[in-house]
């Protein structure tokens, strides 16, 4: 319960600070010197610059003095250095700060970077996607949420292992029977197979996974109202009659809201990170110092 509140205030602070920094930048932005290895690549330099900015921001908001993790960690360091001390925690912490320990300790550095990065990606209430925004996201990114088109079809099967050498002849006979069926159901014709139904709704992908590419291809052609076949599979021969087709579609928002929201939030976080980093990057004046 506490963490979101802490985030809210701290992030608010960071955002405010970023804005202030940005607005002032035309006059005087913070200046920092970033030290990199002599042979550092451009990418290495950029990474170091970004890290330095984040650390500087964290320090500007005194997280290196106020963060509870930093606090306990520095005290632990001090008790390690001074095992016999009788000073209380606050005194030890103040002494650590006096020694500027927080500026060099790797755990403190990691902690500050972590908080700054969390802050960059934090989504404030006013950036949480509204229903309208989710609907827009669903509509404009339909490819991510699209469901495959389906085909309703009738299906009659003749088993190769049951019919053996008579399979082809039996298939010819079946074709004639089916042709004479008209619009009647084929229920009661053919051989059973687990999962096979006289009438079924399926996507071409599902059919390919189950019966192979040939049957899926015929069904996908979606010639409505005519018996097609025999079509061969590893199981035997099949006859299919497409009843109707349903095109690919994007489900409505109220059905896939969770899915859309998760996708949208990923995008928002990415954008916020980029925007906030860019603002800071622009506001800062950076001097690069390459170590010899």
């Amino acid at each position: 319960m506490l963490r979101p509140l802490v985030h809210f205030f701290l992030i608010g602070g960071l955002l405010f600070g970023s804005k202030a920094v940005y607005e002032r930048s035309r006059i005087e932005g913070p200046s920092i010197t970033v030290r990199v290895a002599a042979d550092a690549t451009d990418a290495d330099v950029e990474a170091a610059v970004r890290e330095s900015i984040l650390l500087n921001e964290a320090r500007r908001y005194h997280w290196d003095r106020t963060d509870p993790i930093v606090y306990t960690h520095l005290i632990r360091n001090m008790r390690f250095i001074e095992p016999d001390t009788e000073d209380d925690d606050l005194a030890l912490f103040q002494r650590a700060v006096g020694m500027n320990m927080q500026a060099h300790d790797p755990v403190v550095r990691a902690r500050l970077l972590y908080r700054a990065r969390e802050a960059l990606a934090f989504v404030p209430e006013d950036r949480m996607p509204s229903s309208a925004e989710l609907e827009e996201h669903r509509r404009t990114h339909g490819d991510r949420f699209e469901r495959e088109g389906r085909v309703r079809f009738q299906h009659v099967f003749l088993s190769r292992s049951r019919h053996g050498a008579a399979l082809a002849a039996d298939a010819r006979e079946m074709r004639e029977r089916l042709a004479a069926l008209g619009d009647s159901s084929p229920a009661g014709l053919g051989d059973p197979l687990p999962g096979l139904r006289p009438e079924q709704l399926a996507t071409p992908s599902e059919l390919q996974d189950t019966y192979g590419v040939e049957l899926a291809g015929v069904v996908e052609e979606a010639v409505v109202g005519a018996w097609r076949g025999p079509i061969s599979s590893v199981y035997g021969l099949h006859f299919v009659k497409v009843i109707d087709t349903e095109p690919a579609y994007v489900p409505p928002l109220d059905v896939i809201r969770t899915e859309v929201r998760a996708d949208r939030l990923r995008a928002i976080r990415k954008k916020l990170r980029q925007e906030r980093m860019a603002s800071l990057r622009e506001a800062y004046r950076i001097e690069i110092e390459r170590a010899p």
């Binding site: 319960m1 509870p68 993790i69 306990t72 960690h73 632990r76 755990v107 990691a110 902690r111 970077l113 972590y114 908080r115 969390e118 469901r147 495959e148 389906r150 088993s159 190769r160 292992s161 049951r162 229920a187 009661g188 014709l189 053919g190 051989d191 059973p192 197979l193 687990p194 999962g195 139904r197 006289p198 079924q200 709704l201 399926a202 996507t203 992908s205 996974d209 189950t210 019966y211 192979g212 599979s233 590893v234 199981y235 035997g236 349903e246 489900p251 059905v255 896939i256 809201r257 969770t258 899915e259 929201r261 998760a262």
Partner: protein, 684 residues
């Protein structure tokens, strides 16, 4: 009251508040989930899934270099490629994996014991972040960490799950009263539930069904008693109760019953035992937490909470052992030569205990039912991968990359030469359910009523019904399923006493996986209680065991008779209406190459001057593409000439290389499906 509760009640209250108010709940609830899919079949359709998957949220997977997340696992199940370790220093993966066909449903089952630990150690804002164990953990995550260093730190943490129950506790890094890890663990659990929600297809296309879950990983003295906890929907318990919270299974069930099943919130849950083969025979021991034999309350709780069991996965089959209970030549399938988790991981040959196998459990269950009124081991059947690389349903024998976990992680570069996993382990299997539609309510209900079957990987589809009056020509009926369903019970059901003196009749209908080998035969395995003894007999039902199908070990090409589908109607010829009995079907494919043979068939190696000791000493110096040590090792099953003269009756008298002949994997396997049994209940 469990130890942690006193210090964590506030956390639970907080979590219930947060979980109880989640977006998903307020929006969807659970009512009305049934019947919403466009493709709904009252006679039920088959759906394929995996209920045992680990991602970077599991300590073992995480330390083995798995960086893929629960989101990645869902993406993989939908058919998208994911990266697989080892990773280069720049973070790019050296391997990718893709499933051949999407899954219909899945439950991710990361080890809940370390949900909090991993978060605390990876989150600098966490109290406990700079605890010694976390510092060590992070050191082990560095690119240049050595395998020995990583193993040492992993074992130091993971050994906590092997403590005796009374000593089970969170790592020290979790702080006073374990609060850091409890709180962080709840964060992770909330994210697990939220990710499952986001991946669940609520449209009428019903493409993917997800269930929130985790693994309870109790393994006292490395005897595996693990269980996967599967929730029906987003209504879950506040905490993912793990071995440190509830170190006995009955404590776990009590907690789940109290806070979920009986809570009146729409929550429902079940637990799925697995790898009973690695329990040193203790999984089905007639002993409760207090050391006393089962009571009627206990067996009722177990029966209600554990409707199904994992018969097969990455760490071997748990159906039966060769020679135990009955002569069944097919019990050798993926029977790994280890008795517990540690010997598996360390590859120390230790004979498994037949009491840890399902045949024993089924017999014991009937015996206990006779005295206590309820069968505690009335398990339906599932199978799974137990992948630790976030790759649900990744079961292809010809594309095996190693699943990690108890197997080889392949985290480090360069990758070791030869096989990507311990040769005795395997890609694992799949669970199939017969359900009306691909949605949570329907699939969860199917698992509850045990209308499930497991396969060793291929999508062999099998349907089984039992009744009293099925005609002998039922296989010829196009409406076989409708007839059988109306006049009998499906797999997982129970046949009650029949007034007439008829024997039960079973119909089994199976079809091959269109991308795998044809079917060879169907068997029915009958077990019954004769007085106080239980017996087993295997009956042929359809197909032909001697169909002449073969496989070429050099190329893995299959040859032989071709049956795409098989059907049989079988009546028990030895039925005694006074005896409890169970019947399950086993469907066998024609022979095909095991994954080890696939890899050797694609590799170049020469066993002419093969030297076992040299391989053991030098293997890591060989290039990754060199399969000589693994393919020439008799354990891979391809040195039949070398092993022909080896007498394994006295292994101690043999040279090391010869001893490897005594524990060979089967180079050629018969992939299979196992149905849930149908039980016969005699008059009381």
């Amino acid at each position: 009251m469990p130890r942690f509760l006193s210090s964590a009640l506030w956390l639970i209250t907080l979590a219930m508040t947060v979980v109880g108010c989640s977006d998903a709940e307020s929006r969807s609830g659970t009512a009305g989930d049934f019947g919403r899919c466009a493709d709904f079949d009252p006679l039920r359709q088959v759906f394929w899934g995996d209920t045992h998957i680990h991602t970077d949220l599991s300590l073992d997977a995480n330390m083995q270099g798995t960086r893929t997340t629960q989101d990645d696992a869902y993406a993989f199940a939908r058919g998208e490629p994911i990266p697989v370790q080892p990773y280069n220093e720049d973070g790019s993966a050296t391997r990718m994996a893709t499933i051949d066909r999407p899954l219909d449903f899945l439950m991710l089952s990361d080890h809940a014991e370390f949900f909090g630990t991993l978060k605390v150690c990876n989150d600098p804002s966490s109290l406990g972040y700079d605890a010694r164990q976390c510092v060590d953990y992070r050191a082990a995550q560095q690119f240049d960490a050595s395998p020995q260093e990583v193993a040492g730190i992993f074992v130091g943490l993971n050994a906590l799950t092997a403590a005796e129950p009374q000593g089970a506790r969170y790592p020290e890094l979790c702080g006073p009263a374990d609060e850091y890890c409890l709180e962080a663990g709840m964060d992770v659990w909330r994210q697990v539930v939220s990710d499952a929600e986001a991946a669940y297809d609520r449209s009428d296309a019903c493409e993917l069904t997800t269930f929130p879950g985790y693994e309870w990983s109790g393994g006292p003295r490395v005897k595996n008693l693990h269980r996967n906890v599967m929730f029906k929907n987003e209504k879950v318990t506040a905490l993912p109760y793990n071995y440190f919270d509830e170190p006995y299974a009955e404590g776990l069930w009590a907690r789940l019953r109290e806070e979920c099943v009986d809570a009146g919130t729409g929550c429902d849950v079940l637990t799925i035992p697995h790898n009973s083969n690695l329990s040193e025979g203790t999984y089905f021991e007639n002993k409760m937490a207090n050391g006393e034999p089962f009571t009627s309350e206990y067996v009722e709780a177990r029966n209600a909470m554990e409707p199904v069991i994992e018969i097969y996965q990455h760490k071997g089959a748990s159906e039966c052992l060769p020679g135990a209970v009955t002569a069944d030549e097919l019990c050798g399938f993926e029977a790994i030569p280890f008795s517990n988790l540690a010997t598996t991981n360390l590859e120390i040959i230790t004979p498994p205990d037949p009491k840890g196998f399902l045949r024993h459990a089924y017999g014991e269950g009937m015996r206990l039912e006779a005295s206590l009124g309820t069968n505690p081991f009335q398990y339906g059947i599932t199978a799974a991968t137990d992948t630790h690389i976030s790759a649900p349903g990744f079961v292809a024998e010809d594309d095996f990359k190693g699943h990690g976990g108890a197997g080889q992680p392949n985290r480090f570069l360069p990758p070791p030469p030869g096989f990507p996993d311990i040769e005795y382990l395997s890609p694992g299997g799949l669970t199939a359910v017969w359900a009306e539609e691909n949605a949570r309510d329907a699939i969860f209900s199917a698992i509850r009523r045990k209308e499930t079957f497991g396969t060793s990987g291929p999508r062999i589809t099998v349907r089984m019904f039992g009744g009293w009056d099925y005609p002998s020509d039922l296989c010829n009926a196009p409406d076989l399923v409708a007839q059988a369903d109306a006049a009998g019970v499906p797999m997982g059901g129970t046949l009650g006493p029949q007034p007439a003196s008829a024997a039960p009749v079973f119909v089994v209908l199976a079809m091959q996986d269109s991308t795998s080998a044809p079917l060879q035969r169907i068997q029915i395995i009958k077990g019954w209680l004769d007085g106080d003894d239980y017996q087993v007999t295997v009956y042929p039902v359809a197909g032909n065991a001697n169909n002449g199908a073969t496989v070429d070990l050099a190329t893995c090409a299959r040859q032989g008779e071709d049956s795409g589908d098989l059907c049989g109607v079988w009546q028990d010829p030895d039925f005694d209406p006074g005896q409890r009995a169970y019947y399950y079907a086993r469907v066998l494919e024609n022979p095909s190459c095991r994954w080890t043979t696939w890899q050797c068939s694609a590799a170049e190696y020469d066993c002419t001057d093969w030297d076992y000791a040299g391989c053991v000493a030098q293997k890591d110096n060989f290039p990754p593409s060199d399969y000589t040590c693994d393919c020439c090792d008799p354990a891979a099953g391809l040195r039949q000439g070398f092993c022909a003269e080896v007498d394994c009756t006295d292994p101690d008298s043999l040279l090391e290389a010869e001893q490897r002949c005594c524990h060979q994997v089967e180079p050629v396997i018969q992939e299979r499906a196992w149905t849930s049994p149908i039980w016969y209940q005699p008059p009381s």
